[in-house]
């Protein structure tokens, strides 16, 4: 019965059927490649996370222990600390980047002499490798570095603190470095969003007597919403995986005061060679990132559909 219907459908529209088959055929290699380089390692990491596997202790074998690694993580104070640090870093740095990025985008949108040059220069920090940025900022915040000199000379501080050896203060160079590096990226995204807003809206607002602040609140920000959401999601996905910057700046210290999840997972996996536990931590880093990415894809898709309509 179903077969017969299928046959009829096939007879009705042979062209469409052939096309979808061709599409599958053409996408096939790409799908295979993605499975090999992305999906397989992902699933393998998950499988590994269900095992007790210490590379250094072959006598313990590699037994399947179900969610044992995950329950160990839940009882591990260092894990919760790392989770807190990751969330804190993401919240603070991403909100600063959005505010400053918006300001920078508004500035760069105005027409002034040398705008092209200014836009290029503003993007420079984004073009630098994160490790180089981190070394630079560590240099600035080392004892006797430029930060101390600046704060002492301007009289803002009477004594130079040990930035990188203090549990709270060491966040300052970390967040500053991240904000410095990625604000231009946010600004670039928002600049593109700004240019998509119809100038006629501003004109209408002005005719209606709206001041600059009202225009910002009622025209710019609503019009910028899709771009803002994209920037927010891009940045938070990145911030949740933070590693290189902190690795170079504080190595997660003092103690573990600035250790993010990705670094704890690195320590468990590659320093302590606990493949099972480290994989579980890696999966825990991955899940929120994936969820955010899914939200992003949905939102990007819906805004695309809106535009098509």
């Amino acid at each position: 019965m179903a077969d017969a219907e299928h046959q009829r459908a096939r007879l009705r529209d042979p062209a469409e059927h052939g096309e979808s088959r061709l599409a599958l055929l053409l996408c096939g290699p790409a799908l295979l490649l993605i499975s090999a380089v992305a999906l397989f390692p992902l699933l393998y990491t998950f499988w590994e996370s269900l095992h007790l596997h210490d590379l250094r202790m072959p006598w313990r074998g590699r037994p399947l222990i179900g969610l044992g690694n995950y329950t160990e993580a839940l009882a591990d104070a260092r894990f919760w600390g790392a989770l807190g640090h990751t969330a804190f870093f993401a919240a603070v740095s991403v909100s600063l980047e959005l505010v400053l990025g918006l300001a920078l985008a508004l500035l760069l949108q105005r027409s002034f002499a040398g705008r092209g040059f200014a836009r290029a220069v503003a993007l420079l920090p984004w073009a630098m490798p994160a490790v180089v940025v981190a070394i630079l900022w560590r240099f600035l915040f080392e004892p006797g570095g430029a930060a101390d000199a600046l704060l002492l000379q301007t009289g803002l501080l009477a004594r130079a603190p040990a930035w990188l050896s203090d549990a709270q203060l060491s966040w300052v160079p970390i967040v500053l470095a991240d904000v410095w590096k990625t604000t231009p990226f946010v600004a670039l995204l928002l600049l593109a969003g700004l240019q998509a807003i119809d100038p006629a809206l501003y004109e209408a607002a002005r005719i209606d007597g709206a001041g600059p602040l009202e225009r910002l609140l009622h025209v710019t920000l609503p019009g910028l919403q899709p771009a803002l959401v994209v920037a927010l999601l891009f940045r938070s996905v990145d911030a949740l995986r933070v590693f290189d910057l902190i690795y170079v700046l504080t190595a997660g210290g003092p103690g573990t005061a600035t250790e993010p999840l990705a670094m704890y997972s690195f320590v468990a996996l590659l320093r302590n060679l606990r493949f099972g536990y480290g994989s579980a931590l890696a999966v825990i880093v991955f899940v929120p990132t994936l969820l955010l990415a899914l939200v992003y894809i949905r939102l990007a898709g819906s805004s695309l559909r809106q535009e098509q309509r």
Binding site: E142, P254, V267, N272, L273
Partner: protein, 423 residues
């Protein structure tokens, strides 16, 4: 394709057939930079001239200890037959031995009594010997001989001298490695021994929640809090402390022997104005020098263990050790050599002093999970020194976590069977 492959195989086979039977090949991955590499290359060439039937193939490995360790673990875990000879850091021996990756050396009857007992003890695991010491590294207290006439005899005297020197214009009283890494553990080990404590007790349980350990860590914490040791030292490794000492900013420094020849270079501000000793004893302890250095061991799956041991015996023979001391400045682990005038000529430091410091050598805990144990210590020591935990909080937490680690890997002895470890 298949034909090309076949041709290759045939060509390779012919090439093999044409050469003389190759005999024994021993592979040896090891450090490949600087004077160390030069002296090793020369010695292996000499070995092969004396033993034409054995060919030693050197393999390049990363210079960083962590990376070499990771590489070794991957090879050995994959049950590779190569490399035959392994160059081990002193804290890796128990880990590799427990994993069954090393060949016990008793069958070759190595002359263990000719080496410093501490260096042999560090290479034993559950009563068996798994590696021979190649060269010794020890933590030393460098002091400015133009500021203090003699090395401090006690920890209290060290603090006094350091405080006086600060008042006299030195930026810091004492510098040591305070960053969160292995170096911090060796510094702590010296303080701990100086105050009569230990990391693991005789039964193999953590012994850090003790008055001695608290006194040791409190001494380190007070040094930071009083400014005797700069707070910046919490991110310092060996080189930063050497810069501070070499630029005349501190009268005391804890560092390894590598710094000695560098401090004696013509452009050094402290050239000829410093000397070394062991970290002096605090109350209830003894002078202490953390033990480091390299060992040579044989892969448990090696198909040439006899030849591999001959290479090791050659490299650890007195002649080669003296040469290594002369060219690379590394201390030999054979005690008899310290009476030889050749060694006095070879080393930048007086061998009598070196021998005295090595006599105070204290090994890090011998356990297959040393790296994780050290990780726990690093975190809590660093938290304490940066003011996030008190000395007793840090030690109690470290003690508990180390016991939890040992019990997780079934190495924690039960209290009712003290001394009897499960095998």
């Amino acid at each position: 394709m298949a034909r090309v492959l076949l041709a290759c195989v045939l060509a390779a086979a012919c090439a093999c057939a044409r050469e003389k039977p190759q005999g024994i090949v021993v592979t040896f991955p090891g450090s490949s930079v600087g004077a160390e590499a030069d002296v090793l290359r020369a010695q292996l060439a000499r070995f092969m001239r004396q033993h034409p039937e054995i060919r030693v193939v050197q393999q390049r490995t990363p210079d960083s200890g962590d990376q070499r360790h990771q590489l070794y673990v991957q090879w050995l875990n994959a049950r590779a037959r190569d490399p035959d000879i392994l160059q081990l850091d002193v804290v890796w021996t128990p880990e590799f031995a427990a994993a069954g990756w090393l060949l016990p050396l008793e069958r070759f009857a190595p002359p263990v009594h000719e080496f410093f007992p501490a260096t042999i003890a560090a290479n034993r695991y559950r009563g068996r010997l798994y590696a021979l010491p190649w060269f010794v590294d020890v933590g030393m207290l460098y002091y400015r001989s133009d500021v203090v006439g003699a090395p401090p005899r006690s920890h209290a005297e060290l603090v006094q001298h350091a405080q006086r020197a600060r008042r006299a214009g030195f930026d810091y009283g004492l510098v040591w490695q305070g960053a969160r890494y292995e170096g911090l553990v060796t510094v702590f080990l010296e303080y701990l021994t100086a105050f009569g404590g230990e990391v693991l007790d005789a039964t193999g349980r953590a012994a850090l929640d003790t008055p001695a350990a608290r006194a040791a860590l409190q001494a380190m914490r007070s040094a930071i809090d009083s400014g005797l040791v700069p707070r910046a030292a919490l991110s310092w490794q060996e080189e930063q402390t050497r810069f501070a000492f070499q630029n005349g900013r501190a009268p005391f420094m804890r560092n390894w022997p590598y710094a000695y020849p560098l401090l004696q270079q013509p452009d050094s501000r402290v050239r000829g104005r410093f000397a070394v000793s062991a970290m002096p004893a605090g109350s209830g302890g003894r002078p202490a020098a953390a033990l480091g250095g390299s060992q040579l061991a044989i892969n448990g799956r090696s198909d040439q263990p006899q030849a591999a041991y001959r290479v090791i015996a050659f490299l650890t023979a007195p002649a080669q050790m003296l040469e290594r001391a002369r060219i690379a400045g590394q201390f030999p682990p054979r005690h008899a050599l310290y009476a030889r005038p050749e060694l006095a000529r070879a080393l930048p430091i007086d061998p009598v002093q070196v021998q005295a410091i090595i006599a105070s050598a204290v090994a890090r805990p011998v356990t297959p999970v040393y790296a994780e144990l050290s990780d726990i210590l690093q975190v809590h020591l660093h938290r304490c020194l940066s003011g996030q935990e008190s000395a007793s909080q840090a030690l109690r937490a470290a003690d508990r976590e180390i016991d939890a680690l040992l019990s997780r890997v079934s190495l924690l002895p039960r209290r009712d069977h003290e001394g009897a470890r499960g095998g």
